[in-house]
Symmetry: C3
Subunit: 399 residues, 3 copies
Amino acid sequence: MEKTLQAYIDKLDSLRFKDMYDGDFFLTWDKTGDELDAVFAVADALRFLRERNISTKIFESGLGVSLFRDNSTRTRFSFASACNLLGLEVQDLDEGKSQVAHGETVRETANMISFMADVIGIRDDMYIGKGHTYQKEVAEAVAQGRRDGVLEQKPTLVNLQCDIDHPTQCMADMLHIIHEFGGVENLKGKKVAMTWAYSPSYGKPLSVPQGVIGLMTRFGMDVVLAHPEGYEVMPEVEEVARRNAAASGGAFAKTHSMAEAFQGADIVYPKSWAPFAAMEERTELYGRGDSEGIQALEKRLLAQNAQHKDWCCTEELMKTTRDGKALYLHCLPADINGVSCVDGEVEASVFDRYRTPLYKEASFKPYIIAAMIFLAKCRDPQAVLKALEAQGTKRQFAE
Amino acid sequence: MEKTLQAYIDKLDSLRFKDMYDGDFFLTWDKTGDELDAVFAVADALRFLRERNISTKIFESGLGVSLFRDNSTRTRFSFASACNLLGLEVQDLDEGKSQVAHGETVRETANMISFMADVIGIRDDMYIGKGHTYQKEVAEAVAQGRRDGVLEQKPTLVNLQCDIDHPTQCMADMLHIIHEFGGVENLKGKKVAMTWAYSPSYGKPLSVPQGVIGLMTRFGMDVVLAHPEGYEVMPEVEEVARRNAAASGGAFAKTHSMAEAFQGADIVYPKSWAPFAAMEERTELYGRGDSEGIQALEKRLLAQNAQHKDWCCTEELMKTTRDGKALYLHCLPADINGVSCVDGEVEASVFDRYRTPLYKEASFKPYIIAAMIFLAKCRDPQAVLKALEAQGTKRQFAE
Amino acid sequence: MEKTLQAYIDKLDSLRFKDMYDGDFFLTWDKTGDELDAVFAVADALRFLRERNISTKIFESGLGVSLFRDNSTRTRFSFASACNLLGLEVQDLDEGKSQVAHGETVRETANMISFMADVIGIRDDMYIGKGHTYQKEVAEAVAQGRRDGVLEQKPTLVNLQCDIDHPTQCMADMLHIIHEFGGVENLKGKKVAMTWAYSPSYGKPLSVPQGVIGLMTRFGMDVVLAHPEGYEVMPEVEEVARRNAAASGGAFAKTHSMAEAFQGADIVYPKSWAPFAAMEERTELYGRGDSEGIQALEKRLLAQNAQHKDWCCTEELMKTTRDGKALYLHCLPADINGVSCVDGEVEASVFDRYRTPLYKEASFKPYIIAAMIFLAKCRDPQAVLKALEAQGTKRQFAE
């Protein structure tokens, strides 16, 4: 692991990422491999500085607007932490879970909240076909506002989770893997099992499994997506994963057997999600305001879900992974057998053994978000990092 | 338009506004013309500095307390932006829509939230005869708290909308006009049509039309207030408008014809509001907790309202304005025909044509609020502006 | 009263409080007398600097996380003010009033919100036997997170009110007393009457009376706890009070007569609280989800409560105190006869006479909280205070 800031700067010097300046971050597969590496390098560099009590504020004032269309504690705090790290004050805009506020209203609201906004973080993962579209609308609205002279600056949009991808989560997962395996160069050929797991709450977003197969296939790894029949993810994202694997010299495969996915895996990510087709159906039902239809769908989903309680990350399954010691990942909170539910995604003893690594995995997220903002806001990120270190403002006054 | 900070400072040097120091901002007609001009000059100066990436922080720490007795996104963000611009952290106090919390409780709460507060922004526009009174109570409570040595500083009160006036909105509208017409000296004789317009939501506050006629009559303009019979505004404010017009060499007239108001107008402000008498009645009914009476009143108001769907800002009407090109104003959000409702305040094509100017109009509000605070907090605003420029702290770290 | 910062530094030089560094603040009786004196000295020193417009920021960035398990305006603002004073941005986590979120979840959530947190302030006073335990769990979780390398720093936990103690309130009350009596050296032998008083709301927490008898018995004062039969506080805390009194050369006595407690008192603190046994019963009923049982209990409590309307701080009672001029204390808001209720804790004319001192009492709280954080974060608090004064950064830009 690098011990000087210069190592991160050298890494950045070797990468091409100029297009990230003044840009947004929607989906990892919008970005080149160099651009993703730049995010990892800046995230590590910011953490390097903070661990040494050196200020990483690149803003003296300014707002970071968070827009959550779903309840959120972890993402809210990760975003707030990232903004604080860079000197931005968070201002929350809670729009509720409604599907309204698209079109005309989006354009207007986006501008009205952005007069002093340097970044807008959006979480909108509730409805298939909606979240990503909404984020694009907001980004276009404020870019237009900037061109029209309405806004003094173009706020950078950071996708804090949409219906398609969850880039800040999956990039944090990935940076955790890179650290655990001692560098991205050690990942070639490693087997990743992204598998469905049972949870009593049956309607979780697809953005994590989709984000994982869309991102982890880019590092030459052997990615297996496992789920019961009926729990397919978006076909477009599977296509992305296939293309990525081909380009990176890795592999992407699908199976309906959790055991097959775990067999010899270096990394396992067992997690519940809702079936894509059912989510599409739900979006339509909500669109029509058909509450009877929604109830019927939920009943059907619960019944379908209950058939797959055997999809659990057990000690037995863990033993079948590489040396019985695969790295267990989860975006948290997990549904733990006998702790948060009777039957869930993982056995308590497995979860317990990996608690510290899991918390570390989560700890990368604020830095990933901050790095995305940093790269969008700094024309010359290396120079800014150098200047921050040279300036050496103490984050905490120490005497 | 001025291109140096010195021009704004010169302007301030020509004005008398010493009484604004340590003061509050309740109603525009409490202030002299010079004082309003000072707000405009400081607002422009702060924007000048921010556009050049120069910090305008006059506080190194301190709180800006916002107190909303009604839901609000735009005002909340404008206030948060203004506070952030000056270095204050926003702390929200949501009291709900209740009418309680007057008297004893106000005095106490006002002090309890103000130990570190440099500004308190209040929006309380729900009940006729209440909002302004409440703001006065809060301002008196904290002034007393300061005198008694309870508070380390006297928080400045900024009226973010009351039952009588909406000074931050109307001052932003006015600064927009000044910029559009190339200076306040070009406004003499210009015709302003402040007119009622139909909206399916019939109970909007009167503070905007009242604020507009109370402010725009001070610049020698020819202000016409148009509304259907029964939609009168507060007589006291009409009286203010009449006196202003007489003093400024302008005019103030009333009509029940939207067409008459639009005829040859340079500026049009078509907007729905509730009838004053009905609002008074509603306040009384709420006071008595008479929910049946409130329902009956709402039904009556809806019926009355529905008779005036023809009060809409159409393309046809716009053609009758000066060269068919009057400046269209709105405080947003507008009720747009076929977009946010079937019948509303304005035709979609009219609104579309003015979207960018409307967003610019709104963009002045954070600067207006910041200027009000700045003038209350700086004993010598010109010297502070000069010092900010000389110091030249970058708002965003740029390398 | 001291007039130089050096006086506070000299005071600190005479005290032993090294163990406060990197510590938490749960209960005043966890702390030595020197440690409490250090909190008072730092609180006064921070106020001294702020009154002179000198920045007391010891953080350039970082979060102060507030976790309220009960509604709160005053405590929220006190905590926000303290954080702002030190340079931390507040991020609120509202968990609602539920009893859930203990155990596994606490450990995880505590870490997930703490990646950039320097302090966590918790108010959890609803259930006997729960609040303090919960705070301990959170503090242990983040200490473990720090040891495991998950967190970049250990957040300091500050008890903003639990089921046992309310240290920030009682320390503020105490600092107010110290100022009013001209120094801690003048308190020996002074009589304090901590007495129950009637309020129509019968379920108020016990943490104030418990905190008062647990703290005020440490200064050689003669503390009397008065309440009707059935309104006992926790026996463990009475035991603490007894031990304190013995050690400090003061006294601790109990009575069922308000008149006896007031007789010749120098300080009176008449305040409603719920009976401890009933609170224990309520906690159990909530634990079992027995809503019928809760209703029955509430009915019984109301009836019991109504028998003690004569427990009121009247003018007549005040006349029996030392020279008829005892210092009247309250944590606010008080239930005032004929103002906030028909029958309450205090007569309006008594409350009115003490309003300014009451507000001053409250004004110490932000400084007490800030001092607790300051002492946990600064290895050498005296040096930091000196450096802050030498540096002399203006809190408000003054020209």
